[in-house]
């Protein structure tokens, strides 16, 4: 309860603090995120403007999100929490929340309402809020290919083509984890997107998915970190690669890589903020969060990277890319033109079956 009082106090203080913040004590916030183009988009949309408005705040970027849960647990067990704000996936956030590593969030109390007065919990897209999780973006994992690697009249266009090495020969880059890969194996094998997790929770379904993966096994290069997938494509190591749509957008539109995105079967997921419990700058973090998750700020991030804002009220504000001037709407995973056969990643399924399927997947990779 004490914590809540502090937080409410913080929310109150925020209302008063606008414009007078420069007089405050200097505070340094360590914000953990994914690195690369994604962190850059946050720096430009959130961190830099926030620091300009609040000169007493310094933000340190740590690109440790890939191992965020390990870091949170170690810091919590040690009683020495050095991270102030962490960008992580909802499935990891749920685990951290169950373990009490991160703070519970009262979304309506701690976050700004939409400009038209809609409360935060109503404004964030349905299903995105978690007990301890503040969604920020919708991203998706998509298949991307190099048009030059195939003849003009036979370009790949679906997830089924990822598994078709006869007609689309060449190496493929997949992420070295079961998530997304098993879903796609079933989808390519004819399972309806809505039934995928039902099939995957049976032993026969798992066997079926691995059997499908077996068909392309010799043609797979695995990647671990988000930035590797576009790199493998750009270097010509592979002809197609799975990857996060924002990274692919960055490589194609900003870096000029010759590649196209296939939106069929895109695996959609949220990503967002959590606040580690026991941090020493909670008040400052809550002030930052209130500001950085409002309608305008979420729409701003879409100026730098093609991830969809997690608030309904932000969608109409999405405009052009800050440097390139291209319309970002057509690059959003949630754009109706792209959202025709999405697979919504089921986090509950993965927290339950993840341990077992990761072992099975590791075994499969070893064979």
């Amino acid at each position: 309860m004490k914590l809540k009082t502090v937080l409410m106090g913080a929310a109150g203080a925020m209302a008063l603090s606008v414009g007078t913040t420069s007089a405050q004590d200097p505070v340094s916030l360590t914000i953990v995120s994914w690195g690369g183009a994604y962190t850059t988009s946050q720096v430009r949309a959130y961190h830099d403007p926030y620091m300009a408005e609040n000169p007493h705040v310094t933000i340190i970027n740590d690109d440790g999100s890939a191992n965020a849960l390990a870091g949170l647990r170690a810091q919590s067990q040690a009683g020495n929490v050095t991270w102030d704000l962490v960008d992580m996936l909802p499935s990891d956030a749920q685990l951290a929340c169950d373990e009490g590593l991160i703070l519970e969030i009262d979304h309506d109390e701690m976050l700004a309402a939409a400009p038209d007065g809609t409360s935060a919990s109503e404004d964030f897209l349905p299903g995105s809020l978690g007990e301890c999780f503040i969604p920020q973006i919708v991203y998706s994992t998509v298949l991307t290919y190099r048009p030059g690697a195939f003849s003009d009249d036979a370009q790949p266009s679906s997830i089924a083509d990822l598994f078709d090495v006869e007609n689309f020969p060449g190496r493929r880059a997949l992420q070295d984890r079961p998530g997304t890969n098993l879903e796609w194996a079933l989808y390519a094998d004819g399972v309806d997107p809505d039934d995928i997790y039902e099939v995957l929770s049976t032993p026969e379904g798992v066997d079926r998915a691995f059997a499908k993966l077996d068909t392309i096994k010799e043609h797979i290069v695995f990647w671990t970190e988000g930035a590797q997938a576009p790199q493998l494509l750009a270097d010509g190591e592979v002809v197609m690669a799975t990857g996060y749509n924002g990274r692919m957008f960055d490589a194609i539109e900003v870096e000029g890589m010759d590649a196209d995105i296939i939106w069929d079967g895109q695996v959609v997921e949220w990503d967002g903020w959590v606040v580690p419990a026991g941090g020493s700058n909670i008040e400052a973090v809550m002030d930052y969060l209130y500001w950085a998750t409002d309608t305008q700020r979420l729409a701003d991030q879409a100026k730098y990277i093609s991830y969809g804002p997690a608030r309904a009220s932000s969608a109409p504000l999405v405009g052009e890319h800050a440097d390139l001037g291209i319309d970002m709407n057509q690059h959003m995973p949630t754009n109706p033109d792209n959202y025709f056969s999405p697979i919504i990643l089921d986090n509950d399924f993965w927290t339950d079956y993840g341990d077992e399927l990761r072992e099975r997947f590791a075994n499969w990779m070893l064979q």
Binding site: A66, L69, V221, G236
Partner: protein, 436 residues
Amino acid sequence: MAQADARALANGAEPAPTDRAGRLQTADGVPLKTALRRAERRRKIAAFLLVAPLLFFILTFFVFPIAQMMWRSVDNPQVVRALPQTLEALQDWDGSDVPGEPVFAALHADMMADLERPRVAQAIGPLGIRLNYELSAARSAISRTARQVPNFEAPYRDAFMDSHRLWGDPALWRIIKREGRPLTSAYYVAALDREFDDQGNIVRRDENRRIYVQLFIRTILMSVAITFLTFMLGFPISYYLSILPMRYANLLMICVLLPFWTSLLVRTSAWIVLLQQQGVINTMLVQIGLISDDGRLSMIYNMTGTIIAMTHILLPFMVLPLYSVMRNIPPSYVRAAKSLGATPWTAFRRIYFPQTLPGIGAGGVLVFIISIGYYITPALVGGQSGRMISNEIARHMQQSLNWGLAAALGTMLLIGVLVLYWVYNRLVGADSLKLG
């Protein structure tokens, strides 16, 4: 000391004083033997005091952390902490069918007690994560039920079984009972690709879930291959260096020492540059027409690349001990053998080679020890087929967060390495390691 006395006597000093029994005494009347022993002890203490700060440092910041990490491989507090009453109630349960109402009532009481605690101290979350290692979906059984528990009313058995199917599964209860002890062998069982069956016997896992034994074997095989390659490459050049005049040998030695002193990451990136598909070697092969542009070779991000890069990185560790042994082998032996009619091959095999064995042993064990625990190079250029056991430990440390399993795998690796270290010590002595 005896020497000093002898010297004193030889210099014509006064004869040393003795006591009534004729034992030697020091000037202040203490028997010499006692005085000597005391001085000896003082010097021992003085020597030890010099070493003490460092010993303390290493024990605190190196040995203790590792011991503590090893402890995690058997530490099993989650069930005991979360479900004390349930475990009590489970004592008489025979393990065959779903337990009766008293057990469920105790479970309800345990969960209610846990909800009273502040969030950070709650034991239910870690319990779910712990049980999920043993049984898929146990985590959601626990966490979903925990949210509903305040609304439960007796009889609890039905309420629990309605909230999640797993509460009606004796397998979950067997796991709770088995892991309801402060120490566990479960992580080692898993690290050996084994599991407990319904009767509590340890059996091998399903074939498609076996990982670690195979990975250990692969790690050992790769290390053997790397050790062998460093030997094959290291032996000729060490021999060549040892027969050259010192001036030239020192010059050529730079070829060995420069890589040795160059950053590991620099050398690893060098191999990426050379071996990748758009890299130097492939491009050259395409340009001279040996391979087609589509047929570029995959030499990196697989086992081949890992073995090449690691052989390069570890070669100096083979050459340095070999060279120092070979340098001290007198050439006269081989000459003598030849003059007695041995062919060069026989002379080499029977006379020269046996004398190099200490160097081969030292270099071989050293290279093997280093490669078996290697992490960075396989992580960067290993792809899937070049992964080694260290990479799996790191994955469990950082991603899957199964720290108990990481500790069990780490302990097994560490014990292997320590045994080899002991062998190495017997062979050459740790402090005789030559550096550069």
